[in-house]
């Protein structure tokens, strides 16, 4: 590149950054192959850009890696040039396309380049990997091969294609959508440790930008070695001269080139798309796909992407992946739900509890740093605490309680300032310490044996009388009668802490209730086992009314009055149905939460919000099913009455489009079950 061209380009970029007060301007040196310029020229170009553009410059280089040497790395370190490398997967995958003129593959050369970039000194200039998809390569093998190079980020590119020159297809190969979905699945299962741009852009539209998807404005212009401005290179696949703008750095500013109609149409988001895309339900994320991929000779760019079906397939798959698989919802809608379906619900609560912790931790409250550190050193202890039912009702100050409880479980020594509320220092899942005096924040020092507050040491194996331990009713099911967060139920009054006799009575009651279910409706036991973590005793109101409750953000807890075993069995089934559906709704909305319409339900005076009606229907479906299985005429009558109520409620729910497609499907499944009784 001629020095005069470089000087002019640098000036244009600096001018543009100044005029628009840009905090960053990304400049990518790329292909052909930027390293062909040689180390000295590279250093000169980088130096000139850095000197002219200043600190806003984010300089990158995209290379095939073949010519990368330690000398180039040293230049890149000095001039802060991030180096991205093109790698298409393992040996076979990569060498399919990237071969030398003499026919030899380049894979080994690239691996050597990546070894250089992985060296600790070069980590900061290792920008990531770009991989162009080839359907002949197994998606997960490619993903693994890319990950093995430990890139800080990577991107998967659809091969350049248009409606005129469609994407490469191969006999028996899967679709591009399926290929990407397979990688997405594996990436998610691996914990999404390395950012993958196309997925991040679809998961966080507007936050993560990508050329391939999304409605973000085009903010890219290409400058050729002779100084002419072009649009994205990939346009060259559409028709001869498609990328040309007729402008160059000597005569035009960057603003002038952005006024070019083909660039301008990509600044206006949805309005610049084809009618099909504007009406598409996933347009917010897909954005019509990459611009050149929309080309068709007759209609230009006024079309969906040639990869439309693939993008839709991927987005649908991602939705289902973050939501709950259809088979799980279908299985649960039948009532009890098989063990493998109900097993998917508690993990949702755990994931949301963790998300809540991260959100609360953003401002760095007491306990956050300790909790995050414990999550690395003692994940099981953190897990035991964060899977408890009331965690999602925490506020930021509660992170300290959770951290202290996790530390004690881990046997770790930490000091953390923990708030005292209602005279109680609560350590979730372990118990609470009664402290007299005004509520305050007290320093708690944890150890393997317990903890200390001021001068008081609490050994959990030999505690002082102020310690109120959490008591278990059965393995894995606690009695929650102390934590103030248990007060989660509108209209219901939780009981105060019970004495030992009352706890024993609850143990017997719960055992007998589960025995009752085992005898008549064992189908409901897996759901209870997979869901129920705590019983919150409710205070009886003296009228003999059975009361129970569940809360959407308290997965795993059932609040209930003490009842005889058969009645308790029904109340448990009823509430666990709510917990199950609540977890489903957490990841799979079934109605518009803002919809103000109300639904008449037979079991309650006054119409209910949509969620209330749906939840009630599902709960009574379970209760009706239990009565159906119990012997005797009383049970038969109860069953018949409840079946009619559920049928009526389903009728009300499925008229007037109250439910979205997922909700309608769930209701239809319930309907089919009830009709089959």
């Amino acid at each position: 590149m001629d020095p005069a061209v470089v000087t002019t380009i640098a000036g244009r970029i600096a001018e543009h950054a100044r005029q628009h007060h840009l905090a960053t301007v990304r400049v990518v040196l790329h292909g052909g192959e930027p390293l062909l310029a040689g180390p000295r020229r590279l250093a000169e170009i980088a130096g000139e850009l850095r000197a002219t553009v200043g600190p806003a410059l984010d300089l990158r280089m995209q290379t095939n890696g073949v010519l990368l040497t330690e000398q180039i790395c040293a230049i890149a370190r000095e001039h802060r040039i991030g180096i991205g490398v093109s790698l298409d997967g393992n040996l076979t995958a990569h060498d399919r396309h990237r071969r030398f003129a003499h026919g030899g593959g380049s894979h080994q050369h690239v691996l050597r380049a990546l070894e250089l970039l992985r060296a600790p000194a070069n980590r900061e200039i290792y920008a990531g990997l770009l991989c162009t998809i080839d359907l002949r390569n197994d998606p997960v093998e490619v993903y693994r091969a890319l990950l093995a190079e430990r890139p800080p980020r990577l991107d998967l590119l659809l091969p350049h294609a248009t409606w005129e020159t469609p994407p490469p297809a191969f006999d028996g190969a899967m679709s591009y959508g399926t290929w990407l979905s397979a990688v997405f699945r594996r990436w998610t299962a691996d914990g999404r440790t390395v950012p993958i741009r196309i997925f991040d852009a679809l998961l966080a539209p507007g936050v993560v930008g990508a050329e391939a998807v999304g409605l973000g404005p085009a903010d890219l212009v290409v400058i050729e070695t002779d100084g002419s401005y072009e649009q994205v290179d990939s346009l060259k696949v559409t028709f001869d001269g498609a990328a040309a703008t007729g402008l160059d750095v000597f005569g035009a500013t960057v603003d002038e080139v952005s006024a070019h109609p083909m660039i301008a149409i990509r600044q206006i988001g949805r309005d610049g798309l084809s009618a099909t895309c504007r009406a598409c339900p996933v347009v917010d994320r897909c954005g019509g796909g990459q611009f050149p991929h929309r080309y068709r000779a007759a209609t230009g760019f006024d079309n969906p992407s040639v990869y439309c079906a693939d993008l839709k397939e991927l987005i649908d798959y991602m939705d289902e992946r973050d939501g709950l698989a259809t088979w799980v919802r279908d299985e649960l809608a039948g009532g009890a739900g098989a063990a493998d379906a109900v097993a998917q619900l508690a993990p949702i609560h755990e994931a949301l509890a963790r998300a809540r912790m991260v959100t609360l931790g953003r401002t760095g409250p007491d306990g956050w740093a300790q909790l995050a550190a414990l999550d690395e050193s003692a994940p099981d202890a953190v897990r035991a605490v964060l899977t408890s039912p009331f965690v999602r009702r925490s506020d930021a100050s509660h992170l300290a309680n959770l951290a202290a409880a996790a530390a004690i479980r881990a046997g770790a020594a930490i000091t953390v300032r923990v708030p005292v509320r209602d005279g109680l220092l609560v350590l979730p899942t372990l118990g609470a310490l009664r402290l007299t005096g005004a509520d305050a924040v007290v320093p708690v020092r944890t150890s393997a044996a317990g903890f200390a507050v001021d001068n008081l040491t609490v050994r959990l194996d030999d505690p002082p009388p102020q310690w109120l331990p959490t008591r278990e009713l059965r393995p894995g099911i606690r009695l929650e009668d102390t934590d103030p967060l248990r007060n989660a139920y509108d209209e219901l009054t939780v009981a105060d802490r019970l004495d030992d006799d009352a706890v024993l009575a609850w143990r017997q009651r719960l055992d007998a209730a589960l025995d009752s279910l085992r005898a008549t409706a064992p189908q409901y036991l897996p759901g209870i086992t997979a869901t129920l973590r705590a019983i919150v005793p409710l205070a009886p109101d003296g009228t003999g009314t059975q009361r129970s409750g569940s809360a959407r953000t308290a997965f795993g807890a059932v609040a209930v009055t003490p009842e005889d075993p058969d009645a308790l069995a029904l109340l448990l089934v009823h509430e666990v149905q709510h917990l199950k559906l609540g977890a489903v709704l957490d990841v799979c909305p079934m109605f518009d939460p803002r919809d103000p319409r109300r639904v008449d339900v037979p079991w309650r005076a006054g119409p209910r919000p949509i969620e209330g009606a749906l939840q009630g229907t599902y709960a009574f479906l379970g209760v009706a099913d239990v009565w159906r299985r119990r012997p005797g005429p009383v049970a038969a009558a109860r069953f018949a009455a409840l079946r009619d109520e559920v049928t009526a409620a389903l009728g009300a729910l499925t008229t007037g489009e109250l439910l979205n497609p997922a909700g309608a499907r769930f209701a239809a499944r319930m309907r089919a079950i009830v009709d089959g009784w």
Binding site: R321, V358, G549, L571, D592, P609, V623
Partner: protein, 56 residues
């Protein structure tokens, strides 16, 4: 080959949030799934808890 010709998923949703250590979860990701825990006044179709009181 690890393909998805079997679209049935045995892994539960939001797997990444369980597997990624808390300190390394992207706050934007956490916020994007946390909507269920923070209903607002305009969410008229929702309920916070399901109280029951009569006889089953």
């Amino acid at each position: 080959m690890d393909l998805i010709e079997d679209m049935r998923q045995d892994a539960p949703p939001l797997e990444d949030l369980r597997r990624t250590p808390l300190g390394r979860i992207d706050p934007a990701r956490a916020a994007s799934v946390g909507g269920a825990d923070t209903p607002d006044e305009a969410d008229l179709g929702r309920i916070r808890s399901a109280p029951f009181g009569s006889a089953l």
